[in-house]
């Protein structure tokens, strides 16, 4: 039976989570140098376009189709092209169309689509300034198909005895708690980012040559939009306007506040100054950590998890210098580490009085839930890393991955997109015939476009 209140909240949540990807584009875009900002943002925007379509074609079906074996995969054909999910008599009262719980099935489809989109976009932070756009799209499509869609099935597809629908192994057999995607989204993306960064290799001159963020106002704007959208991500995962959503909402505020403070304190102690990039980074770290745990820990537990995530992620972003991998915008340090923290700490902080109604180690629940959390986290981490590594090598073999060193020096925006992010000059640095050339001539352009003569 459709509940308009639940539906209203899920419609809003879908819009909120979709906004997160443009928000991420700004968050990432501001952190790179001005000659790469457009490409950085394009990797996120293109994820929306590409993954949104794949989701409708077969992604939703792989993730939420009836299990075809071992809780590893949903039936890719069951809902291919969203068939069977929308046809009905919308005029009748009560209307007849497929539902999922108290909301129309299509809202659930849209809501989950935005999760698939942003998970793929998150990965791009690791390969700023150097990955060609075509290979990015190829990798993104393959990764979503082979990694995200199945893993979403593992974690988000719950079995339903009534309808006899069978879901994924982590959600049902292992029964690890991951309310909004600490494993499927953040550990998954972070692990893939590490693999891709390793295969793509370091930026020319990194780490010797410093590459400072070109526009921190964009970074802070992006962090603000991410937080805003994340309310849909976390409280929306309650799939209705209920007490669980309220609970997740409050934890999504408190843990994030604590993480911001945690990151700033760490900077103050270690570097002498709290920075705006640190505040923005702390916000994201806190949101990542509370994503899996927002419905299973008390508000004070949420504050504790946020604080821990803020401090540990602020330290973790330094790892890449120790180990020498160029995870350019710290997808590993923030999303992989933050996701692990949030997922594992549930084993300690889970409060029986919370919607999840599970007791963690600190609440006398012993290590039972803890090991489930660890197994779930590690499973996703390993699967994502290995498959991503293989996919990256395959793409490299087929089409290659990087722009040339000269092109990298010139700037990937000019090379891959034939554009410049900003032009504040008073004079016209550009000239020449504007307007489209007759087709043949136009064909000649591409050759030239963006190339240094």
């Amino acid at each position: 039976m459709l509940d308009t209140g639940d539906t209203a909240w899920m419609l809003a949540s879908t819009a909120l989570v979709l906004l997160m990807t443009p928000g991420l584009a700004l968050f990432y875009g501001g952190m790179v140098r001005s000659k790469s900002v457009l490409n950085m943002m394009m990797m996120s925007l293109s994820s929306i376009g590409l993954i949104g379509i794949l989701w409708a074609l077969y992604g939703y079906s792989i993730a939420f189709g009836n299990d075809v074996g071992g809780g590893l995969l949903g039936n890719p054909f069951e809902f291919a092209g969203l068939r069977g999910l929308f046809v009905g008599d919308y005029g009748a009262d009560p209307a007849t169309f497929p539902m999922s719980g108290t909301i129309p099935a299509l809202v659930f489809v849209g809501f989950q689509a935005t999760f698939a989109i942003i998970t793929v976009a998150l990965i791009s932070g690791a390969v700023a300034d150097r990955l060609r756009f075509g290979p990015w799209l190829l990798f993104a499509g393959l990764w979503a198909t082979i990694v995200y869609f199945p893993v979403a099935h593992w974690v988000f597809a719950f079995s339903d005895d009534e309808s006899g629908v069978v879901g994924g192994w982590i959600a049902n057999d292992l029964a690890a708690l991951d309310f909004a995607g600490g494993t499927a989204v953040h550990i998954n993306a972070g692990s893939a980012a590490l693999a891709l960064a390793l295969v793509v290799g370091k930026r020319r001159g990194w780490p010797r040559e410093p590459m400072r963020p070109h526009n921190l106002t964009l970074v802070m704007l992006g962090a603000g939009l991410l937080w805003f959208g994340w309310f849909g991500f976390n409280a929306g995962s309650a799939l209705g306007a209920n007490g669980t959503a309220a609970f997740a909402l409050v934890n999504t505020i408190l843990a994030t506040c604590a993480a911001m403070l945690g990151w700033l304190i760490t900077e103050r102690v270690r570097d002498g100054k709290p920075t705006s990039l640190g505040a923005a980074s702390g916000i994201v770290a806190g949101l990542v950590a509370i994503t899996p745990s927002c419905a299973s820990v008390s508000p004070l537990g949420g504050i504790a998890i946020g604080l821990i995530a803020g401090v540990l992620c602020a330290l973790a972003v330094g790892l890449k210098f120790r180990f020498g991998y160029d995870d350019s915008l710290d997808v590993v340090g923030v999303h992989l580490v933050g996701g692990l923290i949030g997922t594992v700490l549930i084993g300690f902080f889970a409060d029986p009085g919370s919607p999840a109604a599970v007791a963690g180690l600190f609440y006398g629940g012993g290590v039972d839930q803890l090991w489930r959390q660890v197994v779930g986290a590690v499973a996703v981490l390993v699967y994502s890393f290995v498959v991503s590594l293989v996919l990256a090598y395959i793409v490299k073999a087929i089409v290659g991955l990087r722009v040339t060193p000269e092109e990298e020096a010139t700037g990937i925006d000019e090379i891959e997109h034939a554009e410049t992010g900003y032009d504040f000059s008073s004079h016209r640095a550009v000239s020449g015939l504007s307007g489209q050339r007759p087709e043949p001539a136009a064909e000649a352009v591409p050759a030239a476009a963006g190339k240094e003569a």
């Binding site: 040559e209 034939a418 640095a429 030239a448």
Partner: protein
Amino acid sequence: MKLITAIVKPFVLEDVKGALEQIGVLGMTVSEVQGYGRQKGHTEVYRGAEYSVDFVPKVRVEVVADDTNADKVVDAVVEAARTGKIGDGKVWVTPVETVVRVRTGERGSDAV
């Protein structure tokens, strides 16, 4: 005194700076410029309309030096800025009649 002006590619600035330090040059003034010359620009496309960008970003490095040092400075810069590719830039020397250090009022060699 001489003023050595160098127009070079942006990414060699660090090397030029290093080379000058090598020969004991303590100061320089740098600015962003747009260059036009043999090195052609590139084409940008916005909504299908082409824009040919004729100017290439360059960096101007200015160094005031003793007559005796001038050649050393020129050679050091040319050395450091050369990539062998079109667009490496130019270095030119102009005579300077007086130099004053604002802070102290010192003139000539003592000023730089």
